[in-house]
Symmetry: C2
Subunit: 399 residues, 2 copies
């Protein structure tokens, strides 16, 4: 039986131990910097925006701080999407919407961003925690669901239309960072209906090539007009895993794809440089093909065909001297003649062989999907090859 | 005055609170996964190497697990170096040597990797903590010093010579991720003397271009033969800060440069694809020039000239049919004719104007430094332009 003195001693011991524990916890959890009201260009070590605001002094960007007014939706927070979200967060984007339904696994640790202690958490939850900690000035909205089911798809459409920073405004840009065909088609369908500009990204299952693509409904080929090129068979990771095999992936390829994707997002939102319509990355050869594609007037997506009419009408109404007056817009649209502008270099044997099978494609470019075309329209750069994916696309259309 | 009962109650309360605090701390600190003895290709969620080992099944890499036998030194753990180190860590490299003497600042938060709560820590210390946590299978050796001072330079040379995984072996590759001319010259001097292959990387101060370059002493132009192209005025960040201005930087450009750097490290170490000798990145145009350069027989670095003799002697001794027999080596050396192999595209006005001033340079390529050449040797691709950096290089040589 303890005496009164012994009890008092024990209370003091416990109190001290508790203080120590809480102090230690505090040091571990003290992760946040205070919010910053206004972006400043001041060159001090404590300013997280000094190196970004320096883009103005360097003559690259006119109005860097306007980045805070933009909202970007990132669909898929995996190898490309997580790094994409981190880059936008560090750049001080206004708001991010994150969509994913996956959990973090140790098997994801060969790509950047997630950490082993996050295994088991939902990707959007883990990402939001890390990103908020990196930059508390960014607003986050996360959705832990699969966008391809009917209910979720409707909610997804609703958030793209009304998830912008100011209430009820649409988002400024949608980024597809998903790993399967079905999700890409869902994003395509939503963006065609909404007339929402988006960028598609992808990495091949052998991990050594990738691409980004800008899709402006009515102006450029949509995903149903002509699916992205230079992507190998694009099987869902989950399907692969069931069979005891998995796609290869590398932090390098995914980092490069995320980098060129967000670089083009910055150029698009902040109006500098030239935004790429399509940019490929072949890691084996360090070869970066670029091109642009008109929409297919016979596209199977009726909203794509409608947007094409809208775009044509807008172009017809535009005064002809506007191109000369509005120089900044001209930069973005300077490729309106839509010739292929492709950087060609010797491709590896694999892509050379594949390209050889398709008559009109430039060397080094292969078609990863077959494209359903009733008859050839403006999208003459893309030719039918095999019928292997026709069935899959027909299935998609039934959804 | 407390009664016996009250004291007992207080002890129980405190004990419970302490348990809760320790549990919470445990959850925050439980950052490590156990070490993995042998890389496996098994497709389970808990295997951090499954997506990398899949490169073997995909026919990209013959022997992925050999990555564990390599040691890479990363000099400069800033915007490019930290991401470079993280990619190599996630790829399961055997050992990393990290060199930097800077501290983490909030002003670094516009680039990937470091987090606000690490502000004030040395970059190598903060990086080692994060990287060890991501992959405890990697060995780390960190040096918190400036390699350009005499004592440190000697220690740096010693670690490159003896810091490999097996005792007393040299490192397999040195990566330059530094932000100033002086440090690049120090790495160049060390690697020429040691005959150590290295890769150089850099990002322009306006944040919208960068490059990587492979330097194999005796075989390719060293940094003193011909400093890297497409790099803007390369002033030390510290010098800039003193004047109240700073270089611009973007997580995108640095992520792309780190990505193409580590991709080429993987290709070099694991012998797949084609290693780029020089690869540039112009973010404004999404333009990626590539080329290769022979060493300058009149290089000011005597160790470079010595290595050129060694290389010539080795080449002369090599049986002429070896190129056909050893196909894998051939891939790496297939550009031995050393013609420029440059992918040209319309460059922006700035680079076009700069290129116009230099007679024999292809469009889109500009010389960022002047190159001291007594008379023109094999490095005929590079011409003298202005004399502005001559003095700086002369100073370097005196060190």
């Amino acid at each position: 039986m303890a005496t009164m003195e012994e009890l008092k001693l024990r209370v003091r011991e416990l109190e001290n131990e508790l203080i120590k524990c809480k102090q230690k916890q505090c040091a571990t959890e003290q992760l946040h910097r205070p919010k910053i009201e206004k972006m400043s260009a001041e060159v001090v070590d404590s300013n997280p925006y000094s190196r970004l605001m320096a883009l103005k002094r360097m003559g690259i960007v006119d109005n860097y701080e306007s980045i805070r007014t933009f909202t970007v939706a990132v669909v898929g927070v995996g190898g490309v999407g997580s790094v994409t979200a981190e880059m936008l967060t560090r750049c001080g984007i206004g708001k991010l919407l994150l969509f994913d339904y996956d959990k973090v696994e140790l098997a994801n640790m060969n790509r950047l961003f997630f950490q082993p202690h996050q295994a088991g958490l939902s990707k959007v939850e883990a990402a939001e925690h890390t990103l908020r900690n990196i930059n508390p000035d960014v607003s986050f909205e996360t959705h832990n669901y699969n966008i391809t089911t009917l209910d979720n798809f409707n909610h997804f459409m609703e958030r793209l239309s009304h998830g912008g920073l100011e209430d009820d405004k649409p988002v400024d840009l949608v980024l597809s960072c998903v790993d399967n065909f079905e999700a890409r088609m869902a994003i395509n369908t939503a963006c065609n209906e909404l007339g929402q500009t988006w960028m598609e990204s992808g990495v091949s299952e052998n991990a050594v090539s990738g691409h980004i693509q800008l899709i402006n409904p009515g102006e450029t080929a949509c995903f149903a007009c002509a699916p992205p090129l230079v992507v190998a068979a694009n099987i869902d990771e989950k399907t692969l895993k069931r069979e005891g095999v998995c796609a290869a992936s590398l932090p390098t390829t995914m980092g490069v794809v995320a980098g060129i994707l967000v670089q083009n997002v910055l150029k698009y939102l902040l109006k500098f440089g030239r935004v790429s319509y399509y940019l490929g990355y072949n890691a084996m050869q360090d070869f970066f093909p670029s091109m642009a594609m008109k929409p297919n007037p016979q596209c199977n997506d009726r909203h794509c065909r409608r947007q094409q009419e809208v775009y044509k009408a807008q172009e017809a109404e535009r005064p002809k001297n506007e191109v000369i007056q509005v120089e900044e817009e001209e930069v973005l649209h300077e490729d309106n003649e839509w010739g292929i502008e492709l950087v060609s270099e010797e491709a590896n044997e694999e892509t050379q062989a594949a390209a050889a099978a398709v008559a009109d494609l430039p060397e080094g470019i292969t078609v990863a999907y077959t494209i359903p075309m009733a008859n050839k329209g403006d999208g003459e750069m893309v030719e039918e090859t095999e019928q292997s994916l026709e069935d899959l696309m027909a299935q998609m259309r039934k959804l």
